[in-house]
Amino acid sequence: MKTRGNSTPARPPRSYFPILAHVLALLAVAPLLWVLVSVLKPAEDVFSFSWPSTWTLDNLQYVLLKIPLPRFLLNSALVAVVVTVVALFFHSMAAYALARLRFPGRGIIFSGIMSTLLVSLPVILVPLFLVAKQLGLLDSYAGLIVPSIFHAFGIFLLRQYYLNIPRELEEAADLDGCGYWRRYWSVILPLSRPVLASLSVLFFLANWNAFLWPLTITRNPDLRVIQLGIAGMQGQYASAWNLILAAAVIAAIPTVVVFVAGQKRLVDAMKTTGLK
């Protein structure tokens, strides 16, 4: 199934649709705009409803220079990128096998993999911590990265995608004497670029915003990821909300950039997962 470009309109939209869309978009985003404005206000004015009396970059400066925010950003970036790359690699291999190869136990393995989706992190937090501890992953980058890689959703989506790839391409490779690895590496993987691009956006987002697992597995302050850093500014009785918002704004920027860059791909690629 070929991807359709999303710039060819089926028919011109009704004249009021774009206006309505813009208005609704503004409404949806308005609460977030308040955050942006508040960040630029002096500290005492965080909860005042007035327009800023003075604009100030103090809050942003503080979080960038006085606390190790850049370090947190770096940690998050490292974890998110590594997890995304490794996960997509593993998932595409597994998805290829499930979609294209025949072998005993395929059904059971697939079902088993899918059933893991019903369980969320808080449920398995303590046992997972125990397992990670036994494997020596405590308080390390490995501990942040390794358990986050394995999630069945990516496998599912990639498998759907592969089910729809025409068999002729593979059979051509087969005739050329390609082994399974060559087939995967040289034929399937390049073809998966659209879906891999979109999944990487989603994985990156999910890992960038991760909180509970990093909180549980790390103790060393240098290993903190961005969400932990933000939470760290909440005091026992009174937090510095101006700083929290400033840090959150900075933390949101990479995710916004990644999303905007990928949103076009996202829509195009999702439709080829055979959701018909």
Partner: protein, 453 residues
Amino acid sequence: MSATPFPARPVSRRSVLRGGLGALAASAVAGPLLTACGGDDPGGDGKDLTFWNFYGPADDANPQSKWFVDLTTKWNANNDVKVNLRYIVGKEYLSGTVLQTAFQSGEGPDIFLISPGDFLRYYNGGVLQDLSPQLTAESKADYLPGLLEARSVDGKVYGLPMEIEPLAMYYSEPAFEKAGLSEADLPKTWDQTLAVAEKLTGKDRYGVMFETLPGYYQNFTWYPFLWQGDGAPIKDGKVAFDSPAAVQALKFWQDTIQNKVAPRKALGDGGGDVVSNLGSGAAAMQQSGIWAVSDMRTKAKNFKYGIIPHPTPDGGKPATDLGGWAFVANAKGKNPEAAAKFITWALGSTDAEGIERQRQWNTVVKTNVPPRKSVQQAADAKGAFGEGVLKKFVSEIAPTGRPEPRFPPEVYQPVADAIQACQLNAADPGKAAADAAQRIDTFLQTYQGASIS
């Protein structure tokens, strides 16, 4: 496990059944496996102790963080057994999963902080180390009455308090001026409170504010109103919550909401956050603790405010709640004796250095009432409580206080539900108190552990 990029996925019936059955079959084996990997062996002579706290070392190296860091640096310079700080963000330490996860997997800290509400849970779980052997008699006598008892069982002391945090009512001078009121109008009784609050309530402000978020803190702030009527959830080991004192206290909080003089939701961190509420003009009077003095100093130093003791009901007596955290040692830790020694040195030293250290904590880097007489004297000598709000705290308010109760969750919960139901759901206070009392009673019948009150 990554956060789910998409919340979850649908699965076919068959695939789920297959997967599910497999899991069920295997779970039968899980039990023995768990008991096997319970925890580390308590060494007894470890050389590196961990101290988990929510003060430092913090990113912004604030004074409180610095105090903790200096403390351990000093200790480490003079001792073989080293103490290493671990900073856990306040909210996660208090109501998060970090401590529980760690203890559950045998990775608990060697030294840590607890609040009175946690005491029984840890004690009954057998993880608190008796500090009595390392606590000198002189040190023990130095503590204000009642403080050590709240953290003792059968005469053995298990925790040393680092501070006393009394509660009071804060009021905003600008708000009073704007409403044309003066110091004479500051309320002394519950009825006066409601009346004055009405005058202070305006378009953008509420007259009075109490905590509305459910949690240990809300209970903590409500108990004084119960005590003012001579009530208590438990007396002599038996439930006593179903009493006129409880009913009237519940009704008072209910009235503040029903009369629309108190908000249902606070800004910022909640009812105890004076900076975000009183300080931003959202409330004219707010109940909070002595910690707010230091918060206001750092975050809103130009704001003019004062404090008054809690208003009392007719025929009631003044009362306040004394919060405050304590250092405790993990009896199953790597070196409980060394940990105990550290604690008694850090907080209980009676030498000049020790007293100065405590004075710094209680009056310089943080504002609270010192738990020890000698420290109080040293602080007075420096004029820490000489005037203003702090003077009032020490002279008028703290003496009327009772230490925060050490109720286990099963007692905390029914009381919390009663408070919430009456305050926010217009429930009948009589019935709410009776329901809570019954639940507490059911729990007490099967409770086996250290005495609760």
